[in-house]
Symmetry: C2
Subunit: 144 residues, 2 copies
DNA sequence: TCTTGACCTTGAGCGCGCTCGAAGCGCTAG
DNA sequence: CTAGCGCTTCGAGCGCGCTCAAGGTCAAGA
């Protein structure tokens, strides 16, 4: 009764486009998706679950490259469980760091907004108000 | 005594590259940067403050396009204060929403990690664990 | 005097993550 | 029978935010 899912079905359920699903497969995030005799992809419930996890990683800011590594480990089976866990824990730290960073920016925004409300004194358009600047330096791209 | 700053000085102080500073000017985020007789840019402390605010907006996920709008309003002087405030408040909401979203993904990650610790039962690699899926649908690009 | 280096402009290039166009096949409803 | 739709592949294209290369000017130090 597991009426194997078409790419369109999966697109609907995961809120990804069929384009993106095919793209994810191309770049190595999804492997071994079954095919019907017609050549059409047939996804299992497990595939959908895995795609859900991928979406969680992606939407929380993990780059495709790292997701690919994670997918590769998964291919390696239970022997790679510790590595996968480590990867997830690293990512968890990134997410926490990002949250904290956002909190700091929020504080800046709040003070700016307060200034515009005329409830607080602040310099004309944003001197002094900036976050550390020398603090968190380089990189990363987030998404959603 | 306000020894006007060169682009290199500002790059150092803002942790942006000189390329980025020139790019920001090109796309309309910074206007009317003074020039020395040599044609070299000379930034004021106020410029540095404004760039700090821009960096805050950018790093908290505001796209360049919206920043451009904000810069345009600023050009409009005090008459646009209310609009600028509204823009900042909208952005504040975005940041809050993003934080909450990250919190949800964090919960997923935590349960996955717990599973890998063998402390919790979870399906083989991520069925069922996904966030709402039909919830927050489209868009946005974040950064840092 | 010569060299170095920070600056200038213009325009091209890049990495990322999709997104789409073209051409074609196959199932199903009318 | 045929129209239409959803699927297939392959490769190109796009939006974003930088980033860099080329070629030139200028000013200070060895």
């Amino acid at each position: 009764m597991t009426h194997e899912l078409s790419i369109g079905d999966v697109a609907e359920r995961t809120a990804l486009s069929v384009h993106t699903l095919r793209y994810y497969e191309r770049v190595g995030l999804l492997d071994g998706v079954d095919r019907a005799s017609s050549g059409h992809r047939r996804y299992t419930e497990d595939d959908v679950g895995w795609i859900g996890l991928l979406t969680c990683l992606r939407s929380s800011g993990m780059p495709i490259r790292a997701m690919r590594d994670f997918a590769a480990l998964r291919r390696g089976g239970s022997a790679t469980a510790a590595e996968r866990r480590a990867l997830l824990e690293d990512h968890r730290q990134e997410v926490l760091a990002r949250q904290e960073e956002l909190a700091r920016y929020l504080a800046v925004l709040d003070s700016k907004i307060a200034y515009y409300r005329g409830e607080e004194a602040a310099p004309p358009d944003g001197a002094r108000t900036a976050v550390g600047a020398g603090s968190a330096a380089r990189s990363r791209g987030e998404r959603r």
